[in-house]
């Protein structure tokens, strides 16, 4: 007797169904199924989950559904990135942009020197005046991306020259605003103890720092994920 892969997959779907009625109390939570696809949890836990899903018709149906949605989601993200990349490239190199040669490089360098001179000595504002946030980046130091931090987390970032004050924001798993600090001059901040008590250990949170400059300009850091240790 010969069997093929798709036959075997169909057999699993059909034959696990009548044997196991939907006993959902023993089934993993939806977050655990998603977590398995997103690669979270220990190897032992993953093996246990896979064993369960393989033999449970409801969970296997949900798991296969989540796998498919994740594939579509991946294509969506790639498509967005590709289109934005193309648009960026179009913006950066217009059709009349000359090919790089020694002559153009020398001309560009000359223009650069001239421009620098003009900016530095003729147009530049006083040294302590901040014009805008362009080109300024906030480097987040800790917690690191996806770090599970202890119960009294301290957030730290590199100080930004010219910044008047900073504001730290925490978002929950669905990116809804969870907490916002007041103005702080320091480039580090510990969360208040009563706030930490409201944060469920193991759940994902995101943090972001905004640097505020004179004349209302501001610069945001990237958003970084973290969680509290169980």
């Amino acid at each position: 007797m010969k069997i093929y892969r798709e036959q075997l997959r169909a057999m699993r779907r059909d034959l696990t169904r009548p044997q196991t009625p939907d006993e959902r109390p023993s089934c993993p939570q939806p977050e655990e199924l998603i977590g398995l696809i997103d690669s979270s949890g220990s190897a032992r836990k993953k093996a246990g989950l896979i064993d369960h899903i393989f033999n449970c018709p409801s969970c296997s149906r949900e798991f296969e559904f989540l796998l498919e949605v994740k594939r579509h989601e991946k294509s969506l993200v790639q498509e967005i990135k590709r289109r934005l990349g193309e648009e960026k490239a179009r913006r950066q190199r217009p059709f009349f942009w000359p090919r790089l040669s020694w002559k153009t490089a020398a001309a560009a360098f000359g223009l650069f020197l001239l421009g620098s001179f003009l900016l530095r000595f003729l147009l530049a504002p006083p040294e302590n005046t901040f014009r805008n946030g362009a080109g300024i980046k906030i480097d987040l130091i800790r917690p690191l991306e996806n770090e599970a931090v202890r119960s009294s987390p301290v957030f730290e970032w590199k100080a930004v020259p010219g910044a008047e004050y900073y504001v730290l924001e925490i978002f929950d798993q669905a990116l809804a605003p969870f907490w916002e600090s007041g103005r702080t001059m320091e480039n580090r901040l510990a969360l208040p103890a009563d706030l930490v008590l409201k944060m469920a250990p193991g759940k994902s949170f995101f943090w972001l720092v905004t640097a505020h400059f004179p004349r209302g300009a501001r610069v945001h850091s990237s958003l970084r994920e973290f969680s509290l240790r169980n």
Partner: protein
């Protein structure tokens, strides 16, 4: 201004394609019959994504948050489906007791499946999890990402696992071919 409109229309179209794919998946796995209204799910994903990624700058820097948004909507929607399932549980069990065997489920298939399941369960853990995920329709990349292993390691374990199964099944008179 017109560039903004163009971008907004383009993003709207991408979301429309994404919504179409999700709607098909919901139908394929019969989750519509379990109390999940595809339109609700799609509307929620669209709203949340649109809010987060309305401008180009945000999309570029935060593309990975699509995943966070989709995960959170999916979790809610599976929870709702499970609640409905619980309500229908009693009726379902009654149906199962009185129902005949599903079409295509012959004794020989049951026996074959039992042998296959035993063969898979007898594999060492690392090969077993890979093989089980493979039969749950996950591809190599997805298995590797889920288990946090390299693609080479995953491929190796899958081939060895399938080869073990082939041998075990052959001993029981079943020839397995890893072809669709």
């Amino acid at each position: 201004m017109s560039r903004d409109r163009e971008r907004s229309e383009e993003f709207e179209r991408l979301l429309e394609e994404f919504s179409y794919s999700i709607r098909r998946s919901l139908e394929k796995f019969g989750l519509e019959r379990r109390g999940i209204d595809p339109e609700d799910v799609l509307q929620e994903i669209r709203l949340r994504l649109w809010k987060k990624f309305a401008s180009e700058k945000k999309i570029r820097s935060r593309a990975s948050y699509i995943s966070v948004v989709v995960n959170s909507v999916l979790t809610d929607c599976l929870r709702r489906a499970r609640r409905t399932e619980k309500v229908l549980q009693h009726e379902k069990e009654k149906c199962l007791q009185s129902a005949e065997q599903p079409a295509g489920c012959f004794f020989s298939d049951e026996r074959t499946w039992r042998i296959v399941a035993e063969a898979i369960d007898s594999l060492i853990e690392s090969r077993r999890v890979v093989v089980k995920m493979y039969f749950l329709n996950a591809n190599l990349e997805e298995i590797a990402a889920s288990l946090g292993w390299s693609l080479d390691k995953t491929r190796n374990l899958l081939y060895r696992g399938l080869s073990d199964i082939r041998l075990k099944l052959k001993e029981r008179g079943i020839e397995y071919e890893d072809l669709p």
